[in-house]
Symmetry: C2
Subunit: 198 residues, 2 copies
DNA sequence: GGGTGAGGTTAACCACCGTTCACACTGTCG
DNA sequence: CGACAGTGTGAACGGTGGTTAACCTCACCC
């Protein structure tokens, strides 16, 4: 409202639509308190409107959470696919690419990381199924690479390995901002590679 | 009820008091759905009583959660202290002792691990402070060891390292039971050591 | 200039859930 | 036997919070 240039009707990263503002604010609040502890009034207040105004943009509070989690899973899966393709054939290079990608994502979106594994259970059954399917696909990308890194290890072991590496990298929200971003990124990536290749 | 030997009035691990049964059932339910999504009636039903019966054993639902989290933090802190003392002077041996301890704890109590970092925010302010203080003490035990393992690294970096290792080991609830317990324990411990010493 | 549609507001509705209450049952102890 | 403590029950209360309804306003456009 104060800034004149709102070209069309929609978002542009720097000038996000109301809908986008709501999703971002909700992600932040959900990460801090958990989705069930955050009221629609809280989300509204965070973007300067009242609670019921939310319903002009989302069918329900659950739909908001569903869209949030679906987007995260899709971004991770798409990003993983892309990075693997760009990394060439070497398993080590592919692993490094995946690690770097996931570290960047986690450092850029700590709130999303938190919500993703805390509030999955709050989704409706069909939404939860869809999100889990995307997550599974992403995990399997990692597993495929890890199987090539450890030719004599079982797939199950590689899957456990992948989850462990996710846990390591996703610890970011817990050790918030005490280290400069590049330092933190390098530390996490080194640890992740070491754990994944141990 | 089926087993005759209920010597005094109280618990004995195999024959836990009603109070203890409630805490265990609640931990399980809280881990599965999140404390705010679990009703008092659910907890009651899980031990074969109605919801209000809970109040014969706990002052409130929040008090239940508080006791649960306090116990976890205390067990971790006490266990860590004990294992370090028993490990001798070598930093590498102390690290190995901490890792083995934490891996065992996580594999034995996946539900508690989940609740601990998902529902801390649901605690009342004074309870949350107390739990965080215990957690911090436990983290600092790890940091002290890690500082000796990495003499030229900053304390802040070692703290981030500790959180990352926790994330790695605490991934257990996500990769539930596909691997035999000893295999899983060895895998996690090896990865944790590799990450911690990278 | 009046119809239209997008986006907000306030007030009300309603379901759910933590908590309390009044009462019942069962043992033990004096 | 009768008090009493411990534990459980069903019913009721009250707050919270998601959702809907009715109404308003403004930008836009033929």
């Amino acid at each position: 409202m104060t800034s004149p240039p709102d070209s069309a009707l929609h978002s542009d990263a720097a000038n996000p639509s109301r809908r986008e503002q709501i999703l971002r604010a909700a992600a932040q609040l959900f990460a801090e308190r958990g989705s069930r502890a955050v009221g629609v009034d809280d989300v509204g207040a965070a973007v300067g409107v009242t609670g019921p105004a939310i319903y002009r943009h989302f069918a329900s509070k659950d739909a908001m959470l569903a869209e949030m989690l679906l987007r995260i899973s899709e971004r991770l899966l798409a990003g993983g696919t892309e990075r693997i393709a760009a990394a060439g054939d070497s398993p080590a290079a592919q692993l490094r690419a995946l690690v770097d990608f996931h570290v960047d994502f986690a450092l850029d979106n700590p709130a999303l990381i938190t919500v993703q594994d805390r509030d999955l259970g709050a989704l409706s059954d069909p939404d939860a199924r869809r999100v889990r399917q995307l997550q599974r696909s992403y995990v399997e990308e990692w597993v495929a690479v890890l199987v090539r890194v450890h030719p004599d290890a079982s797939t199950a072991a590689c899957r456990a390995r992948a989850h462990a590496v996710f846990g390591l990298i996703n610890s970011t929200p817990h050790s918030a901002g005490r280290l400069a971003r590049p330092t933190m990124a390098a530390l996490l990536a080194d640890m992740a590679i070491a754990a994944a290749t141990a």
